[in-house]
C-alpha cells in the first residue's frame, strides 16, 4: 500500500457482528421499510375478487368454523359470552402472532433471490412483515370492535372502555414473541430447509396450548403447567379481559411474558444479525 488511509467509512470482512447495522444505517432505510409493507399489502390483493376485505372475511370464516366445531359439536363453554365474539377475540390475537411468526420465519428462503442480488440491512424484511401483519391486525380489530358493539347493543355483553387499554401491552408482547421466534426460526430454516415443515406443526400445536377456545381456568390442574409455561397464555387471558372483562389476569404471568418477549426479541435480533450475512452462501 502506497499510502495510509486515515479514515474508512466501511469495512467488509469475514466476521459478522451481533449488532448488525447501525441505527443510522437502519434509519436511512426507513423508506424501504414502509415501501416493502406497502408492496406486500398491495401485492397480496392484486387480482383478487375481494381485495383487502379478505383481512376481515378470513377471521369471520375461521371463527364460524370454530363455533361449529367447539361450540355446537363439542359444547365447550364460553363463559356465558356469545361464542362468535369469544372466539373472534382469541383468533384476532392469535392471527397476529401466527402470521408474524410464520412469515418472518421464512425470511431467508422467501427472499433469497433478492438477498443474493442487493444489500440492505436484512432485518428490514422481517420488520416489514411485522408491520404488514400489524396493519392487518388493526383491520381485524375494527371487525372485532364492530362485533363487540353489536353484542353490546343487543345487550349480551357489557363494555369496559378502561380495561381496553390493557390490550395495548398485550398486542406488543404478542407481536414481539412472534417476531423473536420468527427471527430465530428464519436462521434455522435457511440452513435446514426441511425444518420449514415443522413451522406449520409448531403453529398448530401452539394454537391448542393457547387459551383461545377455552379459558385457563377450565384447564385441569394436572396439565395446567403446560398452559402456564406458554408465555402467550396470559396474553390471551388479558386480551379477553380487555374487551369483555373476563379472564385471569395477574402480574406474575404478565411479567413472565414480558421478560420472555424481551429475551426472545433480543436473542432473535442478535442471532439474525450475526448469522444472516453468512447465510447468503447457503440459501
Amino acid at each position: 500500500m502506497t499510502e495510509k488511509q486515515v479514515h474508512w467509512d466501511w469495512e467488509i470482512k469475514s466476521q459478522t457482528t451481533w449488532l448488525g447495522a447501525s441505527w443510522k444505517e437502519l434509519y436511512s432505510f426507513k423508506d424501504l421499510l414502509f415501501r416493502l409493507v406497502r408492496k406486500d399489502f398491495l401485492a397480496s390483493y392484486q387480482q383478487t375478487l375481494l381485495g383487502p376485505f379478505w383481512a376481515v372475511l378470513q377471521p369471520i370464516l375461521t371463527v364460524l368454523i370454530y363455533v361449529l366445531v367447539f361450540n355446537k359439536v363439542m359444547s365447550v363453554s364460553t363463559q356465558g359470552i356469545p361464542p362468535f365474539l369469544y372466539y373472534l377475540i382469541g383468533i384476532t390475537l392469535w392471527n397476529l402472532f401466527s402470521d408474524i411468526f410464520q412469515y418472518t420465519s421464512i425470511t431467508f428462503t422467501a427472499n433469497a433471490y433478492i438477498f443474493s442480488k442487493v444489500y440492505f440491512p436484512r432485518i428490514i424484511t422481517p420488520l416489514a412483515v411485522m408491520l404488514l401483519h400489524g396493519i392487518r391486525f388493526l383491520i381485524q380489530l375494527l371487525l372485532l370492535i364492530g362485533v363487540l358493539l353489536y353484542y353490546y347493543f343487543t345487550g349480551e355483553v357489557e363494555l369496559l372502555p378502561v380495561n381496553a387499554l390493557l390490550a395495548i401491552p398485550t398486542v406488543i408482547i404478542t407481536a414481539g414473541i412472534g417476531l423473536g421466534s420468527g427471527l430465530i426460526f428464519s436462521i434455522i430454516t435457511a440452513k435446514y430447509r426441511d425444518l420449514q415443515n415443522m413451522i406449520q406443526l409448531i403453529i398448530r400445536l401452539l394454537m391448542f396450548v393457547c387459551p383461545i377456545f377455552y379459558s385457563t381456568a377450565m384447564v385441569p390442574a394436572k396439565i395446567k403447567w403446560i398452559v402456564l409455561l406458554n408465555p402467550l397464555s396470559s396474553q390471551f387471558e388479558m386480551f379477553r379481559y380487555a374487551f369483555i372483562g373476563i379472564g385471569e389476569t395477574s402480574l406474575l404471568p404478565f411479567l413472565y411474558s414480558t421478560l420472555f418477549m424481551i429475551a426472545l426479541v433480543g436473542s432473535g435480533v442478535l442471532l439474525f444479525n450475526k448469522m444472516g450475512d453468512k447465510l447468503i452462501d447457503v440459501i
Partner: protein, 429 residues
Amino acid sequence: MSDIIIQAENISKLYRLGALGTGSLKQDITMWWETKVLKKENPFFKTDNSLPEEAINSNYLWSLKNVSFDIREGEVWGIIGHNGAGKSTLLKILSRIIRPTEGVVRGRGKISSLLEVGTGFDQQLSGRENIFISGYMLGMKKNDIRRKFDEIVDFSGVEQFLDTPVKRYSSGMYVRLAFAVAAHLDPDILIVDEVLAVGDSEFQKKCLGKMKEVSTQKGRTILFVSHSMQAINILCEKSIWLQKGKVVANGDTHTVVSNYLSAYQRKLLKQEWGLTEDAPGNVFIKMISVELIPQLKDPLDHIDIRTPLTVKFRFKNNTSNANLVTGLHLFTQSGECIFDVSCNPGVFNEGIVEGECNIPGNFLNDGSYYFSLIFMKDVSRTLFYFEECLHFDMEDFRENTNSFVKWQGYVRPNFPFKLKQANNLVAVM
C-alpha cells in the same frame, strides 16, 4: 492522484461444493464439536499460510484467492475473466452481499450495485410502484426518486404503461424500466455486473452512454464486469483480469485486455494429430494438422479485425493420381456461411499434401467464427468434409470513434469511401 476509495486486501472466498442439506446438520455438529469443544483446529478456516494453494480437498473450492487491489476515487475499473473466474463473487463481496472467507475490503462512500436487471421488482405491481421499490433497494432516498421520477420515466419510455403491472410488460420494456431506475442512482461507487448483456443494441448504447456520463461528468467510481472487450476498452482506464480466483494482471486496461485476449486466443489456434489413426478423416483423406496463423506485428498481440490470417493445413492423400480441389468454408458462430473459397484443382500423388489460404486483414467483422475444410475429387465428388476445424475470435478495433455499439454486418471491409464538396452554396449566392 486522488484518494483510495476501495482497498481490497487478500480477499479469499471458499465455497463448499456438492450437496448441501442432507447430513449437513450432522457435519455442522461434528465440526462444532471438534473445533469449539475439543479445540481442534478448523481445517478450513485457518488463517495462517499452511493452506494449500489449491482447494484442500475436492469438496471445497477457492472462488477467490488472495485478491488485492486499490481503487482510487473517480476511476473506472473493468473486471475481466472467463466464466467461473470469480468475477461475480468479487462483485458480491464488494456489494456486501456475501462475506469473504479471509481478507478485508475497506472503503469510503456509498455503494450501489447492479447485479441484475430489475432488483426488487415485483411482477404483480405497477411500473410506478416498482420504480420506488427498486430505487429504495438500490439505496436511493425518497426525495431523490421523487425528483428524478419524470426523468426515469422518460429514460425508460414506458410512460403509458406506468400503472400496468410489470408482468404484462414486454421483456424489452421491463429491462428498460429497470435500467432507467438504476441509471439514476447517484452513489459514490457503482458496481455493474454484466447487465448490459440484455436488451437490444440501441438500448445497450444508451446504457453504456449513461455509464460513461456518470463516470466522466460526475467523477464517480465504477466497477464494471463485461465480456465485451470493446466496452471495457472504451469505458475503463484500469482493469483486473481474474482467472480461477486469482488476479492474473491488474492495471492499464489496454495492456490487461490485450494480454487476456492473446492468452485466450493462442490455445485454440492449432490442431495437430500427426500420422495417427484417430486423426479426422477417412480412407481417402487423413488430416495431419490445421493451424490458423495470425500475422501480428508483436507475437503477444491478439487478433483484431485488422489482422491478416493464414490457414495452413496438412493432410495425407491416399489416392494416387487424384485430381483434388480443397475448399474452405467460413462460418459465423451461429452457423451462417460467410464465404466459400477453393483452390485451383491439381493432380496429387499419394502422400502428404499441404494447403494454405490467406484471409486478408480489414475484412471480417468482429465476432466468433469457425471454418470447415472440404476435400473434393474430380471437381464435384466429396471425399471428406472436415467440419468445424478451428474456432477463432476477431476482436474489435476502432480508431477515431467514440461509439461502442456492435458494428453491423458479417464483414467489415475497408473499401474506399469518400465524400467531397460538389457545389459550394455560399460561393453560388
